[in-house]
Amino acid sequence: MGKTVALSGPSLELARASFLEYYRSHPPPLPSRFLRREFAYAPFSGTGMRRHLAMPSAEVFHRSLQEEVPRHLYYSSAYYEDPAHPIMVSKRWVGADLIFDLDADHLEDAGGLDYPGQLELVKRKFRVLVEDYLLRDFGLDATDVQLAFSGGRGYHAHVHKESFLGLSSAGRRELVDYLGGGGVDLSSYLYPSESLEKKAPGRRAAAKAAMEATSPEAAPVRSKARMPKSTMNELPRFPPPDAPGWKGRFSRSFFELLTGWEKMSVAEATQDILARAKRRGIETMRPGDAFTVARALLEEGKAAKVREYLVLDVGSKGKTGHRGVPISFIELILAEGAVLLQGETDAPVTTDIHRLIRLPGSLHGGTGFRVRPLEIDELREFSPMRDALLPDPTHGRTVEVRLGVAVDYPLGEQRVKGAEGEVLSLPLPHALFLILRGEGALDGPRVP
């Protein structure tokens, strides 16, 4: 839910009145199978949550929204025999939508970004989740998946396809783990015949331990642990880029890297290889190795050869006449691949088969944004700061907001900018955004 700022006085009144007006003029549609779902309201005042509500009809639902005016509105992803029963086991679970939640809170690289920047990053990753994983790998149709902007800092995908609804929490865990490549051994893709399992069970277990650890530092350890002692006898081979699952994904990501290098000169590519190695903590990458590889790829036509034959033959001639690909370069390929292996969805949301989730069409009580249902095609152009703003019931009348902190947002069609203590005259949806985020309070008497 994220933190919700407590409101009081005229700010509270304004927010509540605005939500009431919204629910009166834009009553959210009930979700599919609504008779089997639990609903829950978090109110504007107080800390409790009204749970275990059942909605027998749209009429009852909309009336209750107008009576209660919830600040946050949730429904259960689960279906129950008796959704209103206050004891969970007595509700009798019959199934649950499969939910994926991608939130800026869980993105490692979102830390340094401002709110709009985080929203943009999370949207980009969400599109990958939907297009590459849900539609391509999981084979879902666009009609099986409902997408929504959460109104806060992320996106939700609700899968309604019948065959997924009965999956247990453990079965859902398998799907979530897939997103992060859980259990994948990248080096086995490059050296399918290299049987380290037999040669060095300790190493294998170390690799496995690293794999199971969720910390990102584990990635380089994993690559090193599975490294063959020499590449002299076996040149690394890539799976075909259209291979199913992670095999193809790994190759595609390397070919993207390759495409980047092909646009560079040998010197630039050498620098890029060195810079990447440094970033991934591969200390053994010597400038000479990077140069050898870059020259082989770009000047000796080996880049084209990899694409055509999927064999990475970029080594220098050794004393014995064999060619060896520098181990440090293999390490780099694996480390770059391991970056893909960071599942960034909020796993507990997917594996919790009793989860409460925001109702698409409701309002987010921490921003005033609409929890916007989205078509897959809409995603590319969708911008929450512009498209999720509350519809303005007053048609442009403004209210005065005194800023508690300095702000600077592109919001709707305008830029909301001001210093701490400044009073801004803003349209209602803009004012509400600042008030609900706790960045400003209503100044002076409330505008009706």
Binding site: M1, Y74, G171
Partner: protein
Amino acid sequence: MTDAALVARYPFLPGSSDLLGDLRPSLQDLVSDPGYEPVRHLAREEVIAALGAKRGPEGSAPSTFDAAKPEERILSFLYSRMLVAVAPSSQRVARRWCEGVASSAASQLGRPGAPPEEWTGLASSLDLEVIPAEGSSGHLSFALPSYCRLSSSLREDRFRLARQDLRRGWVDVAPALGVELLEEGVRAYLSDEVALLRLDPELQSGIKEREAELLSRVSALAPAYTPGGFGGVLRPDLFPPCMKQIRSSLDHGQNVPHAGRFALASFMNKVGVEVDAIVDAYRGAPNFKEGLTRYQVTQIAHHDGGEGYTPPDCATMAANGICAKQLDEARPQLCADPGRVRNPLNYYRTRTRSSVRSSSSSTPPPTSDAGAPKTGDASEAPKVGAGAGTGEPNAAPATSTGPASTPSPDPARRTPAGAHRTA
């Protein structure tokens, strides 16, 4: 493959008894009518075979069973199930029996020349969506949800979805892996079936009386469970460093995170510490509440029919920040060897064994005292058990989802907002 042919080979499949039609006897007749003695005889043999069967080809069904007619096999299966249900410590017997029957079904499926329709037919009667893969490789394609249903109970890495060839919602697997998955499907189906079987008490005592001899053999074949297989004297001094550290933190009244509390309780249970002594280990914790702790420890110990939860693997411990391998005092250091120690239990097992070998004459320190010295005043109960779902292996669905799934006894229907998991 016709249903009849399929059922003749796999008489446990759902709907098999429908094929008996009017020939289906009452349960009472099955138990006592002399005419069914051959069927009962078959069932006894089959139960013994299934319980003796370790996983693998030697677990195949006995030859008399192979020679029996389809109706006899179906009836025999029905009677076997009743035998298992009334056996002493029936949960344990049932688990072994389900594994045995599944294993013998897997040998049938894996026999040379088994037609692909047999695999897909069996899968479909277990409500699994499986088709022969494109091409003539003998591979099978599992629909994604069906695959996840099966693989999620199989813990080895090779079953992980990310390792499979997943394309457009279908998982392509090689025949051998396919058989293992279907074996799991059979096992899961059977254990649901046995759990649901309700026999009236009169019938039960009838069976017990008539089958006393068999039932005592059954008990012997599925011996009483010794937690974690750790016999002998308990050696807290040989506990792995992580567990020692958690115990020591609790003794010193420091707060231990949920994952650590869960790990310690599941570990102690597996090495054979009694519930009372496990509860004692938490007395030093801040805000210790005996009732709640006892409840949660009991939940952990009784999980999965008394097997208890397995403590998290070392990698999970490390990810949760509660691995303490730097404190490993074994010589040579065991924690540094992930080939031998991937779970805290491996550490303890290895050390207790080598300790027995190296000093069979010296007296080991005594130890019913796995419980902690009672320091500190009182405290929050360990949040073990409930909410264990996200990381712990084998988490039971009932305890897997944290507060949102925790039974709320409060009909006033108003609970603190922080207690809900929402997204």
